[in-house]
Amino acid sequence: MTQPPRLSPLHRFLSDESHQRDLFSVVPQPPDTVHQWLAQLVLLNGVPFEYLVPDDAMLPPETLRFFFIDENWIERMIDGALSVVARTGLDQLITDTLRTVLRDPVSDVHATRVRRRLLGEDVTSAEPEALNWPLTGFLIRSVVADNWKGIVVENTSKNPPHAPLTILRLDQPARGVVLGLFNGQLGSVTFKHPPESLHFGVDGLQDFPPTWRQNLRYLDTGKYYDPLEPVCVLHRGNRVIDVVGTANAMKAKLDPAPAAFTSAEFAIQMIQSPKSVAFEMMYPAL
């Protein structure tokens, strides 16, 4: 005759589902460290890159790939993480019972705060934001990732009113790779040259060098004059720009005349417009 397994009183007690709720009333909230660590996990921080892209053919060099996050995968990963403390059946039972207090705050509050915390923002005063499954995002493998570290990624939501989704992650999980992860389904993504590295340049190189010129911009809006107002870019030979001479020529042509013309105004005139490319997402009709 087989004996039924001997269970501890607590185990027997919790096996009755109606008692599980009683446990909540006496157990304190899990420590913040647990929630924050799990939040990192939900955002796939620390997940080796090979787990994300198991085959290089999925993300060949110089490509951009969009994706959905499989929530089941994330859930199973959390199961695995929580299983480290489950040494006995009772441990497992308690972890399962406390599922709601262990896991829910992670996706209700903590996951959306990870990036803001990294950006040094005060997260405690902000309105809590819950994860809005399914999450979507993109991966880039390109020299662009290293050359334009500050690439700007703007987005809109798929759903009206198409407000931008919260960026959950935007970083480089591996060299030459950028990962973007958004709290919801993307409607569109726009990639822009980083403004801090927009470069100076001169137009009109085709009849190099006598008529190098640069079209004037309004100092307040940064927009070009309409009609265009080109100013000659002076040089001192050997492709070297006569900076002072050019600056003075620009200052003289600006209307209204600026009070001062410093390197800041000069930069507005010489900077090249940022490139940007927008992607519209297409979803199948469900």
Partner: protein
């Protein structure tokens, strides 16, 4: 866009999409040695004539910053990129520095205004006399006038050992390069040019990768003054112009600079950063962003027409879609479906040493997949990785994705001591509280484990049980306890 001369402690806060230009961000004190002298006098103290003298205090200090070398981490980015060649003909090179005050931290010369940057970005190409100069590693002594290391005909900055600040030494390592004096005179910015060739930019950081971010969002930018050669290799050199004031100042015509060089044929400069680049080819940004380089994350991503992404996988598809096994193209179909839905075929080692290949799919997939719950809408519970291995009998292959997820979560948790300790102590706490709860319930709810009188709670309040326990401790044995309970229970029946 707007522009102001920003004070060093002002903060950004630039609206999304805007750039704010600053002509200069001048630190309150330029780098150098300073002495703080404090003197205190006490006058009119009754009965103390003459006033007591208070010793003055002298405190030397130095403001230090980069001078002959620059920490590579301070360079946020530079343009044009070293490779591949980029088609930015007519564009001026620049260096973006993640230190907003850097170009204005030092004085170019003792009598010069702090608004003149001390850094210059020189562009030299292969076709220039002498070609692109080499960058040598040496020490600060190689640059100093009294360092004894300058060969005849070569001059460096007008600096001597005595000009070094506290904490700097002639033995400090640095990099330097040498340019023919004529070339230097023709390409170096003139003193009046320099203020236009450095500025600072404030940008919004909300939509940028973490690595590219300076929390405050203000960068300083040093721009070159020479359009790169369109077909030859160019070298860009971020150099210190400190101590070259006399060579630059008279440069209204280049002759004056040559005179200032005093017959020297070679100029030696400290190089803080340098790289080579070439013009031509395609802009990688355009290449990357073109339609045929984008798609969904899968091998052979599903054909997407017109626009760049779509999701034509079935919702709720949890296993590899298995085409009809009787179909002659069964194998091809299986592979195609699997690859299009984000699976990769990987080698799978079994515990018993056997090997096969299995499907793996990670957390990032090319199709929409909702959370799969039990039929009663409860969360499925998995306690081992093996319970998550899926077997597809039609193809005879395993799907290992979720098993790998479980295993990885477990491994990552094990790596994180802080997490395990917190979680374990929390679990322990929960167990203790739970046990206390059970004990309380048992005592008040009866009849378990002792056969207490039906209104056990009342008995406890009346001290009956306590009595029983005391007696039991004195006369060991369950019978004695029963006896005790039987004899004292006045309000209920004792059952056996």
């Amino acid at each position: 866009m707007s522009d102001t001369q920003q004070s060093a402690d002002d903060h950004g806060g630039v609206p999304v999409g805007d750039i704010r230009f600053y002509q200069a961000i001048i630190p309150p004190l330029p780098d150098g040695n300073y002495t703080l002298r404090a003197r205190q006098t006490l006058d009119g103290l009754p009965g103390a004539e003459p006033s007591p003298s208070i010793p003055s205090v002298t405190l030397p200090f130095a403001v230090r910053g980069p001078r002959f070398t620059l920490n590579p981490a301070d360079i946020n980015s530079y343009f044009p990129p070293p490779s591949p060649p980029t088609p930015f003909e007519g564009q001026l090179p620049h260096v973006v520095v993640a230190r907003k005050t850097l170009p204005w931290e030092r004085l170019l010369g003792p009598d010069l205004d702090q608004g003149i940057p001390w850094l210059g970005l020189l562009v030299v190409d292969e076709d220039d006399p002498g070609g692109i100069p080499k960058v040598h590693s040496g020490t600060v002594a190689d640059l100093l006038r009294d360092g004894g290391k300058l060969p005849p005909g070569t001059i460096g900055p007008a600096l001597r050992t005595g000009d070094l600040d506290d904490g700097e030494s002639a033995d400090d390592p640095c990099s330097y390069t040498e340019l023919p004096a004529d070339l230097f005179a023709s390409i170096v910015p003139r003193l009046a040019d320099l203020p236009f060739l450095a500025h600072a930019r404030g940008v919004d950081t909300g939509n940028k990768p973490i690595e590219g971010i300076l929390a405050e969002g203000i960068y300083s930018v040093v721009v070159g003054n020479r359009v790169p050669h369109g077909s030859a290799v160019n070298g860009a050199f971020l150099v210190s112009l400190e101590g070259f004031g006399e060579l630059l100042a008279g440069q209204a015509d280049e002759e004056a600079a040559r005179e200032a060089a005093d017959g020297a044929t070679t100029i030696r400069l400290a190089v803080l950063h340098s790289w080579n680049f070439q013009m031509g080819g395609e802009d990688p940004f355009d290449v990357l962003m073109s339609a045929d380089h984008s798609g969904l994350l899968a091998i052979d991503p599903p054909a997407v027409t017109e626009v760049k992404t779509g999701a034509n996988c079935t919702q709720q598809a949890i296993t590899v879609p298995a085409p009809d096994p009787s179909s002659p193209a069964f194998v091809e179909e299986t592979v195609r479906y699997a690859r299009q839905s984000g699976y990769a075929a990987l080698t799978h080692d079994f515990r018993d040493g056997g090997q096969t290949f299995s499907w793996y799919r990670g957390p990032v997939i090319p199709c929409l997949l909702g959370l799969v719950l039990n039929e009663d809408q409860s969360n499925p519970v998995f306690r081992t990785a093996d319970s998550l291995l899926r077997y597809d009998p039609a193809s005879g292959l395993f799907d290992t994705g979720y098993a790998a997820a479980f295993e990885l979560g477990w491994l990552l948790a094990l790596q994180s001591e802080g997490f395990v300790i917190s979680l374990r102590s929390y679990l322990h706490q929960a167990k203790t509280k739970g046990l206390r709860l059970v004990n309380r319930q048992q005592l008040t709810a009866g009849p378990f484990p002792l056969n207490l009188p039906a209104d056990g709670a009342a008995s406890i309040r009346n001290g009956v049980v306590l009595d029983a326990v005391v007696r039991w401790l004195a006369i060991p044995g369950a019978d004695a306890l029963q006896a005790a309970l039987g004899s004292t229970a006045s309000t209920g029946e004792v059952t056996s």
